[in-house]
């Protein structure tokens, strides 16, 4: 009986700490970001495909306590970032597929750490390039970090980390829109 109780306890404990493969939420635009674009950006831009730099900080899929977190945009987090940018420009009325201003970029870092029992951490970094009629107007690396409440139980920690991913992307874009050099390329 002792052995059975131990085995049952261990199995359930393992179940609580792990999970299964899951999908990151689609990007829900930040209306605060949209308001900034609407107010500050004068001209509309188009968004080109973003690349992802292959390195250990640029996870795809992201691992959350053994659970794989996949991007809902063709399995690519570079696509996630470009779609998020496109969505916010569209909502602000500043997206035009035929614009001479083109925003492109490379995802350099992208990871969530859900191993902590009380706090989770995320980091993202991207190089953003803005060209006007082919001439580079802006070329900078932007980064953001995000923290959220975590838990020792995987069934709580993993959904919390999953829900945090769009906030990390939103924070990166807010950093980009707050850069006067970026905004000046949209005048």
């Amino acid at each position: 009986m002792k052995r059975f109780t131990c085995a049952l306890g261990a199995a359930i404990f393992a179940m609580l700490l792990t999970g299964c493969s899951t999908m990151a939420p689609q990007y829900p635009s930040s209306l605060d970001n949209v308001a900034v674009l609407k107010k500050e950006a004068g001209a509309a831009a188009k968004v080109a495909a973003f690349d992802a730099s292959p390195n250990k900080d640029n996870a795809n899929p992201i691992s959350l306590r053994g659970t794989s977190l996949n991007s809902p945009y063709q399995g690519s987090y570079a696509n996630y970032l470009s779609e998020a940018l496109k969505q916010e420009l569209s909502l602000a009325g500043k997206y035009a597929p035929d614009s001479a201003i083109e925003i492109s970029g490379t995802l350099l870092k992208n990871d969530l750490d859900a191993s902590g029992f009380s706090t989770g951490h995320g980091q993202i970094e991207a190089r953003v390039v803005v060209k006007n009629r082919g001439t580079v107007q802006y070329d900078k690396v932007k980064s953001a970090q995000y923290e959220w409440d975590s838990h020792f139980v995987g069934a709580i920690a993993i959904p919390n980390a999953t829900a945090a991913y769009p906030n990390l992307v939103s924070k990166l874009l807010a950093t980009l829109y707050a850069d006067p050099d970026f905004i000046s390329t949209l005048k």
């Binding site: 049952l8 306890g9 689609q26 829900p28 635009s29 209306l31």
Partner: protein, 207 residues
């Protein structure tokens, strides 16, 4: 050993009871479009207001097999609602506080729209938990810049998804219901008898 048994029982209880399944029911924004034959945009500046507590509010409704689902209806409504209002009115502003006098004056707000959203769900399946049917009750109170209620519009969005459809997206019926509610509300708002800009009074309407 007693402590271990207690922990094992606690863990078993946690594992067996579980929580309601969380679903995100924000609609596909690409589907929230103006119909090609729609009337021109109403030349008015509108603002909308959603209380921060409502954005965080979660609602629990039935799923299949005796399970329940949890949604955050205001959080999932908001971006689509913003886009829908932009399809109807010339300019849309988000108010940070109710009756934000500065924003109302600076943006020359003509109308303030306050949404009320209530989700409901059900399932015809006893074997799977995702809802096969979702409904979204969406009401909009439309007031003038002084807060006087001018109109109240109400629609019910419906969404259905069978196993073959929702197996790749458990929230599908909810997303379709949210989309349906927004498009129905868009149709109602496009018919509002208003075309005033910056303070002009609307035509008479039924609150």
């Amino acid at each position: 050993m007693k402590l271990f048994k207690t922990l094992a029982l606690f863990a078993a209880a946690l594992a067996l009871t579980g929580c309601a399944h969380h679903l995100q029911i924000a609609p596909d924004l690409a589907k929230i479009e103006r119909p090609a034959e729609a009337k021109p945009k109403i030349q008015a500046n509108v603002a909308y207001y959603i209380n921060d507590n409502l954005r965080k509010e979660e609602k629990i409704t039935p799923g299949g097999g005796g399970d329940k689902v949890t949604t955050a209806p205001y959080r999932d409504l908001e971006v689509g609602f913003y886009k829908m209002l932009g399809n109807v009115f010339e300019n849309v502003t988000l108010l940070k506080t109710q009756g934000d006098g500065n924003a109302i004056a600076q943006q020359h707000i003509d109308y303030i729209i306050t949404p009320v959203v209530t989700p409901n769900s059900s399932s015809s399946s006893v074997l799977t938990w995702p809802p096969t049917h979702f409904s979204i009750d969406l009401a909009c109170d439309i007031s003038d810049a002084n807060g006087k209620l001018l109109y109240r519009k109400q629609v019910v969005g419906e969404g259905n998804a069978e196993f073959s459809e929702f197996k790749s997206d458990f929230a599908l019926s909810g997303k379709l219901a949210m989309q349906d509610a927004l498009l129905k509300m868009q149709a109602q708002l496009l018919e509002l008898p208003v075309n005033a800009k910056s303070g002009a009074a609307p035509a008479s309407g039924q609150p």
